[in-house]
């Protein structure tokens, strides 16, 4: 979204314009949800965090500093919420998992081959992301998924640009190795199975 247009929307939303607020949400919900989903790996958690982040931002639009990007502010708030949610997260016990599994009586729809490929790819990527450190994961997502610059990430994460680049290289290298290992393993399994 063009920055001047975004600023006008922010001003209108701060003055109580509901339509402007809706446009702001629609412009940013996709990228924020994808980011938090990849950070957490849990769709339900990502939905709660994104919704809470938007509510907080809209409630305090008067505090927004127009010198900065709106997305930076939004992502910062969402990240704090994610960290808080992570701290509060309780482990699931086997009994809970079993009971919820048994209660689900709806018949699953037949997955297509493409669905399966997509799910595998997403699962593979998510597993690789989960294996990274928090900093590496965040830098990888902001740079490659959200297309932020190294400079913007450095400011956002309050770390030197060199450190950001280092996290980026190591994270990418690790992900590549993990995905490669995973594919090799799957290849072995399919060879044995056939």
């Amino acid at each position: 979204m063009v920055r001047s247009l975004e600023r006008k929307l922010i001003e209108k939303a701060a003055a109580g314009d509901k339509a402007a607020a809706a446009k702001l949400i629609k412009a940013h919900q996709g990228s924020l949800y994808a980011y938090i989903l990849r950070m957490s790996g849990k769709p339900e958690m990502a939905e709660d965090i994104v919704q809470d982040a938007f509510v907080r931002v809209l409630m305090h639009l008067d505090r927004f500093d127009p010198r900065f990007r709106f997305s930076t502010w939004l992502f910062t708030i969402a990240k704090r919420l994610y960290l808080n949610a992570n701290q509060k997260l309780k482990p699931h016990y086997d009994s809970e998992i079993v009971s919820s599994w048994g209660a689900d009586t709806s018949a699953p729809s037949a997955p297509t081959i493409q669905d399966e490929v997509d799910v595998n790819a997403r699962g593979c990527i998510q597993s690789a992301l989960d294996a990274l450190s928090d900093e590496q994961r965040e830098v990888i997502l902001l740079f490659h998924q959200q297309n932020w610059s190294i400079n913007a990430i450095a400011k956002h994460l309050e770390m030197p640009e060199g450190t950001v680049k280092s996290h980026l290289h190591r994270g990418r290298q690790r992900m590549r190795r993990l995905i490669s290992d995973d594919q090799t393993q799957k290849q072995h399994v399919s060879e044995v199975w056939s």
Partner: protein
Amino acid sequence: MRPDRSQPDNPNDSTPNVDSYFDRELTPESIESLFDSMSQSRAKRDQFDDTQSMLDDLRNPVDVPDFSGQVLGEVGQRRGWLSTKGRRMVFVGRLATAACLLLVVSGLLLVRRNNPEAFLPATTSGPVSEFVEASGVEAGASMRALSEGLLSIEEKCQPTVKRATISVSVCETRCGKSRTMVQASARQDFSTPVSPGLGDWLSAGNVELTIVVSSFTSHQTAGPGHDTPINNWMIAPERSDRLPSFEASSVGGPRLINVADWTATGSQGR
């Protein structure tokens, strides 16, 4: 297990690194050079393909639920949304409040300028009834001062003001520890107070001056209007040339002189 292909085949390879490409650091020429080198190095090409595929997966769009309804509903419950008309009314209200505030501050400043005592606290104690009574009188005086101030402004704004109107003005010159005070008051037909500088209005010829020379020797302390015996007063030598006629005529105490006379004899010093 496949070998780690994150490093280039040859460490001495001078062609651009695959990682630099994904860091968005390469120029178009460097990118071309990288692609050329990839055609000759399978490891490099595999590394490029794997990374590209991984990042494509990472950027794959996810199914995003629409948050706008829930978010707007929740914000509406907590804060409420305004219609266009409501927002306009809020804007006009803010503007009106600012204008009122400005008017009140201007009024207070005008009253203070024309009647400074109106803001001084009482120095003696007294019954509340007197205070209430006095408040009414003071309020009336303040309103009169305010209206006079407004009239003065109005008069100033008119293009045909006949003369400058002067109530009190003080000019002070200093030379070491000597001090010369010149007080001027308007003739009776000029009643609206303003405070001009001494320069322009002295030559008007219609102002009566009460000139008090308060030049003292270093061992004396006194202020303007102090009743130190006139014999102890002295005109500072540096200033005496500016008040030639006054020195002779003021012996015996302050007196009224016509500014026209003074200007005629004393203006050469100005």
